[in-house]
Structures are given as C-alpha cells and as structure tokens.
Subunit: 275 residues, 2 copies
C-alpha cells in the first residue's frame, strides 16, 4: 500500500499520541508507509508545528543512526487553569461533605476523561524529570496514577493497606496516620520495584500527609528515591503538615460541618519551567 | 489563524481520539479552524478512510441540524490475537504462581500501555451495546475498568470490600465467595448509579465467579441491568462456575503447585459482529 501524505499525518498523529515518551526510529514510519525518510521528516515537521500550536506537546528529534522522534506530552498554562476551574466548580457542592472533613470524590475519580486531563497536567509538570515509576495507595489514587503513567510511559505500583494473597511476598512498614495518629500498616509487593528507581507519589487526597510519609519510607526500603509528590486535593486542616514539597491541584481550605460549607482554593500546582 | 488541511488533519485526529463515542457537531471544527463545513467534511473523509484502513475505529456521520461526527474506537481481529499472544507469553512464567492457584498480576496491571490495549479490545466488543457505566471491585480491576470506560466514554464505579468514610452512604450486600465459600460483604456508594442504567462488569481475575454474582446482585439493588461481563483471566478450577455469560481474554486451565507449572489457553473472547 502506498500512503498519501494526508493519510500518513493521521496515522503518525495517532501513533505518537499512543506512544508518549518513547523513542521511535524514523525507519519504523518509513517502512510502515513505504516512504522515503525525507518525506517522513516533512510529515513530522507538520505534526510538530501543529502539536506546538495547539499545545498538545512537543516532538524531540534525535538525528543519527540511533535517532528518531519522541513525543513529549505537554499542556499549556490555560489547560491547567481550565482544569482547576472545573475541579473547583465540581468540588464546591456542599453535598460532598463527609464526616471528619473528608470530601466525596468517587464521581470525580470515576470520570475517565477528567482523570485523563488530570494525568496529563501532572505528567507535564514532571516531563523533564527522571521518573521511573508512579506509586499510589489503594484505592482512589489508582486511576490518577495510571493517567500520569500513560503520559510518562512508566509503570504503576500500588501500595495496599491490607495484605492479600495476590500480592505475593511483600515489604510492609508501619506508619502513623497524620490525622488520626493511629499506627497503620502498608505493604508493597517485593517485586514491584528495582533499587535505584525514581518514584513519583500520587493520591487523590492528602490531609496531614502521614500516608505520604509512609510511602516515602517504603520507597527507601526499596532503595529507591522520591522524584516528587502530586495530589488532586490537599486539605488544610489544623494538623501539622508532615510533607512540604508537593504539588496539589486544589486546596480544601476549610469545612464547616455545622453550616455544611466547603471553602476551596487553587492548589500550589505549577508547571515547571522548560529546560 | 488560518489552518492548512495538513494541520487540521493532525488536530482532528487528536480531538477524535481524545473524545470517543461523543457526537461532535461539524460547526465545532468549522469554527475552530475558521473553515467551510465542506472542507471539514473532506477532512473527515480522509480521517475516516485512514482510521478504517489501519483498524483504529470508524467515524459515524449524522447529517442534519443536530448532526455531527462520532468516533467509535474499534480493534481489528489481529489486535485481539496479538494482545492475547502477549498476555499468554507474559502470564506463562512460573514465578507468577501464588498459593491457592492465584497468579501474580500486579506487573501486568501496572503497565499503562498494555492496560490501554486491553481496555480498547474489551470496549470494541461492546461498542454496539448500550453501556452506561463500568463496574469493578477494588483493587486490580480498577485500571482495566478505566481503560474500557475511556474508550466507551462512560463513568466507572468501584465496589469495595471494606466500607470507608470516604464512600458516603453505601448500599451493601452479602455474597458467598465461590472458591472459599465464605460469606463476605461488598458495598457501593449510594450515589454511584441511577436506576435503569446498563452496567458492564469487569475484573482482573475470575475464579468461581462468586464476586461477579455479588456485583450482579448489587446491580439489581440499584434497579440497574447487567450489560455484560469481561475479565482479563478466568480460572478453570474444580469449583462450579457460577456465571455463564462472560468474556475472558485468557483462561488459566490448570496450575500444579508441586511442579510449579501453569497451563494457559486463550479465553473465549470474541469481537461481536458489526451491526
């Protein structure tokens, strides 16, 4: 089959979007489309310019024998703002208020398109960092972790509070929940990570940060390093915050359980400067 | 900004891939690209022909005032075969064997690109069915449920075996685990579903099907209907299988805990006939 440029553009766009942060040799496209490398290079310039114009990411081209192209997903500042606006709007409904200052988030977490946007926004903030794996704790952090991981092209590991047979051998640690001050246990499959990996932590909700401290300790048990922390909602409670270096999209400033009101503001999320 | 056809093709491809099963009015594209509807129609024919040629899905065009275009993700038969081959290869390693005839699946579930392919394949089998929501039970079914949901453009609800404060009010039922014959409880947030919705059940692993029966009963408690069941791995044990109408990608035929061998075969997964 001989491909026209227009058809190649459609297929290259699809292929790149499905394979972010992956080095794709030009020969792969040249063979697939039965086209000269020079034509492929021209196709890629068009895709690159369009991706940059619409703010969907950048294409990095590496020349030479081992060269190729790599799609780095990125969001423009406006997408961060519009995502946070949408979250503030959806989270502000007072019927989300749960006992203990928690918010009902299940419906938010259950929207795949919204979670995908959250993942892309968080991945954009870490696109220039070395991240080898995304770690979260069951249950609600899982879709967020997977969305980030898709855009960074790295695996996800899930820490559990229970210890099921399906986990195989685990490494477990005790930690103190920051808000309840109770001692709890978390466990991770032994074969989840290799030593030396850089780990990005994520979760849907962070109160005092005790769970994050626990996961950080678990990372150390695996001789791995913390690459960063990003959460959907942080809660500014009366408790001492145990973590300091993290990104949040939304900050729950206060809840009034008697008046049933929720006060939200934008989190500290910032896209990092480009290198 | 005046867009060239080549740039429009790149952006339309991206937009459609990000918004499956959603009716997009032609005016949205016409306004965005400052182009005549006739040009947009030509663009869409090119995208449609390319998508169909590469087997990534089809574009349905609805004419008239309320018309537009809808992208229906689809996979070709070869993709199903190649996905199952890859799963059989990865699942066949004997070090996956866990006590009780379970398989270690965490690393499979933690690969976002693989889970995305699984989601697209399962979504393709249900593309002509009315599915309003994907339901799974915590924990490992969650990434699969989200991947299917992304391709069908519907929300995900997660049933839990514990009952946490962050769930709000729940509906809970007791069920009998098919393999252990123990009575267990599962719960779902009351506001997860509206009555009359059609629910697709999914999970990573199905043994006797007791959990699926439990979720089916839960669906009935919400006055909802079962739209189908799809699992990654079904296990053919000595137990009576409690479910009959389901799709599985892989079948675990037998495990020998003494010799530490695993026998796998292809599951009963079939893409449905096109309407």
């Amino acid at each position: 089959m001989k491909w026209k440029r227009s058809e190649r553009l459609v297929d290259i766009t699809r292929y790149l979007l499905e394979n972010p942060h992956k080095l794709i040799p030009l020969t792969l496209f040249a063979n697939r489309y039965n086209a000269a490398k020079s034509s492929i290079s021209e196709d890629l310039s068009i895709v690159k310019e369009t991706f940059e114009a619409i703010g969907t990411g950048s294409l990095m081209t590496l020349s030479g024998a081992s060269g190729g192209v790599r799609f780095i997903p990125q969001v423009p500042e406006e997408e961060v703002e519009s995502l946070i606006d949408q979250l503030l709007e959806q989270l502000g409904h007072t019927d989300r208020l749960l006992p203990g200052g928690y918010l009902f988030l299940n419906d938010i977490i259950g929207q795949p398109r919204l979670i995908d946007r959250i993942g892309k926004v968080i991945a954009s903030a870490f696109m220039n960092e070395k991240v080898d794996v995304i770690m979260t704790i069951a249950t609600k952090g899982i879709p967020i972790a997977h969305a980030i991981a898709r855009y960074l092209n790295v695996p996800v590991v899930v820490v559990r509070r229970d210890n099921k047979v399906t986990e195989g051998s685990t490494v477990s640690i005790n930690y103190v929940s920051g808000s309840t001050r109770r001692i709890q246990t978390m466990a991770l499959s032994k074969r989840s990570m290799k030593s030396g990996q850089r780990v990005l932590l994520t979760d849907d909700f962070m109160k005092a940060g005790g769970t994050m401290v626990g996961m950080k300790n678990l990372i150390e048990e695996f001789d791995c390093e913390l690459a960063g922390i990003a959460v959907l909602v942080e809660s500014e409670g009366s408790e001492q915050i145990l973590m300091d270096d993290y990104l949040s999209l939304v900050k729950l400033q206060s809840v009034d359980e008697i008046d049933r009101t929720i006060t939200l503001q934008r989190g500290n999320f910032k896209l990092k400067e480009e290198l």
